[in-house]
Amino acid sequence: MSTVLIVAEAQPDGSLRKATLNAIHAGKDLAQKAGAPLHLALLAEDPARLAEALKPYGAAAIHTIASPAFAHYVAESFAPAVAALATSIGASFVGAAATAQGRDLLPRVAARLKAAMASDVLAFSGSGTDITFTRPMWAGSVIADVKLKTPVKAFTVRATEFSAAEPGGSAEVKAFAPPADVAGAPTQFVSFNEVKSARPELTEASIVVSGGRGTKGDFKEIEALADELGAAVGASRAVCDAGWVPNDLQVGQTGKVVAPKLYIAAGISGAIQHLAGMKGSKTIVAINKDPEAPIFQVADYGIVGDLFKVLPELRAAIHAAK
C-alpha cells in the first residue's frame, strides 16, 4: 500500500523543529487525498525522547532510526537511511518541511529513489496517485500546478502555508535499522555557529519588524519596537550584505519567507526579492521617506516619513495603550 512519509527534524539542541508540525499537517492533508496512511521518519543519535513527543500528532507510525552518525546532520548520512526506510515501507510520497535541512536532504533522498520532486509546496490537490502539487516559481510571481511522473514523489512544504498539526491519536513507534552506508560519509561536520536571540524565531513569529537601507545600519529603533510588540526582527538583503546585521535576519526570496499577521517594513524600498519573502503577511505596514517606494504597493497601511521619528512614536502609542 502506498504510504506518505514525512521526515521529522530535530534541532541542534535535540528538541523538535516546530516546522515539523506544519509538515505533519501537510502530510495528513496529502495522506487523506492519496488515501494512504501517514508515517514519520525520525533520525537521531538517540531518537527515543523525540519519538515520544511526536506520538500524539496523528501519524499511524513513527520509524526511529538511531545511529551515532546522526549526531550532526549531514546529507550523505541521512539520505541513505531515509531512502531505505521509504523503500522498505513502500512510500509513494516522501516529504519534509522546506527548512535548510529539508531543502538539502530531500533532493538527495529523491535522487536515491529516482523520484521527481516539488519544492516549497503550498497545497496538494487530486486523489490517489494523481496528485497535483501547487508551488511558487519566479519568487512567487507565478504559482504553478505540477505533477510528478515518477512512481515515488518527493516534496518539501512551505511551513507557513500549513498550520501546525494538532495533537490527536497515538502513533506506533518502530525502530528501523540504519543501512550500512550511513556511517563513513565522506563529509564531516565541523562546526555550527548559532545566532542566538531572545526574540521569537523569524519564520514562526506572529509579528515581524524589519529594517532596510533607510536604517543606515542603526537597528535600535527596529529592535525597540520589536521588543515592545514581542516581535521578531527582520532585515532586507541590502543591510545583511553590508554586514550591518547577521544574514540570519534576511527576509526575502534568498532569505527567510515569513507570513506573520503583522509585518512592519521600515526603510525598506521593496525590491522584488524582498517582497517575495513577506507578501504573504496578513497585514503589511510600510514606513519610508520615499512616497514612490515600491513597498507601498503591497502595504495595507503606508506612512511617508522618517523611520527614526515614526518608530518611536508608534512604540510610545502602543506602550501607552497597554
Binding site: 533532493p107 519568487a139 563529509t187 555557529n193 526579492q273 506612512i303
Partner: protein, 265 residues
C-alpha cells in the same frame, strides 16, 4: 585544480514576470535574459579558486543555442572553456542533473559548483541530485563569514577553503539560525548562496578574449541521457492580488487602524 561551474539562462531577475492568459507559460515579449544569479556566483567562486590554486574553470549550460550568450558571458568573466549541452525541450532538476553527470564524467573536475537554485523554477534540487548520482559529498548553500563589503571580498579571496593537499575543502553553509561548516572530500558538489561573493563584471579585454575561447557542443544522446522531464507543469497562474492599501496621515492614525481595523496589535 579543475572546476566545473554552471550557467543556466534565466529571465532577468528584475523583470516583471506575467503569466499567459491560458496558463501555458509566461509572456516572453520584452524579457531580457541573464545567467542565473546563483550560477554567476558559482562562476565567480570558481574563478577565485582557480586563481588561488591554479587550474581551469569549465562552464556548462543546457538549452537551445541562445544559451551560448550565457556561456560567452562566463568566458568573458574568465572561464577557460565552455560546454554547451544542446537540448531545446523542457528541463527539470532530474534531467539537468543527469546531463551534468554526463559532462562531469567527461571533464573529471575536482569540484562542481552550481547555483543553489535557478530563479525561474526555484526548485533548489539539481546540485543534490548530481552529488548523489556521482556518489560525491555535497555542501549546499555555501556562504561567507565576512560581509560582502569586507577587505577579503575586495581582494577577491575565495570563500571555499581547499586543504593544502587538495583532498578536502571546508565550506561554510548558510542554514537556519546560523552558519554550519562542513569538510567535504573532493571531488564534491557545492551549491552557492547569494552571499558567497560579488561576481565581477566582464571586462572589455575579457569580452574580446571570450570570442576566441572554445565552446564544445554536446547532445543528450552523446551523453547517453534521456532528458525527458519528470516534473510536468500543468498550469501557471498569477498569485492572488493584494487589496489596495492606503497611506495614513500620521502615527496616531496608523496605531488606531492597526488596533481597531486590522486588529493586529
Amino acid at each position: 585544480m579543475k572546476i566545473l561551474v554552471t550557467a543556466k539562462r534565466v529571465e532577468d531577475p528584475e523583470s516583471k514576470i506575467k503569466v499567459k492568459a491560458d496558463g501555458s507559460g509566461i509572456v516572453q515579449e520584452g524579457l531580457k535574459y541573464k545567467i542565473n544569479p546563483f550560477d554567476e556566483i558559482a562562476v565567480e567562486e570558481g574563478l577565485r579558486l582557480a586563481a588561488k590554486h591554479g587550474g581551469e574553470v569549465v562552464v556548462v549550460s543546457i538549452g537551445a543555442k541562445e544559451v551560448q550568450e550565457q556561456l560567452r558571458h562566463a568566458l568573458a568573466m574568465g572561464a577557460t572553456k565552455a560546454v554547451w549541452v544542446n537540448h531545446a525541450g523542457a528541463l527539470d532538476p532530474m534531467s539537468a542533473a543527469a546531463l551534468l553527470k554526463g559532462v562531469v564524467e567527461r571533464e573529471k573536475p575536482d569540484l562542481a559548483i552550481l547555483g543553489k537554485q535557478s530563479i525561474d523554477d526555484d526548485q533548489n534540487q539539481t546540485g543534490q541530485y548530481l552529488a548523489e548520482w556521482l556518489g560525491w559529498s555535497q555542501a549546499t548553500f555555501a556562504s561567507k563569514v565576512d560581509s560582502l563589503e569586507s577587505e577579503a571580498e575586495k581582494a577577491k579571496a575565495p570563500a571555499i577553503q581547499v586543504a593544502a593537499d587538495g583532498k578536502t575543502a571546508q565550506v561554510v553553509r548558510e542554514v537556519d539560525n546560523g552558519l554550519a561548516t562542513l569538510s567535504v572530500k573532493l571531488p564534491a558538489v557545492v551549491t552557492t548562496d547569494l552571499r558567497l561573493n560579488l561576481p565581477r563584471y566582464a571586462s572589455l579585454p575579457g569580452i574580446m578574449k571570450a570570442k576566441n575561447k572554445p565552446i564544445e557542443e554536446l547532445t543528450p544522446a552523446a551523453l547517453g541521457v534521456d532528458p525527458s522531464a519528470q516534473v510536468e507543469v500543468v498550469k501557471l497562474s498569477a498569485p492572488p492580488p493584494r487589496k489596495a492599501g492606503i497611506k495614513v496621515g500620521d502615527v496616531q492614525e496608523l496605531f488606531t487602524r492597526l488596533k481597531n481595523e486590522a486588529k493586529v496589535i
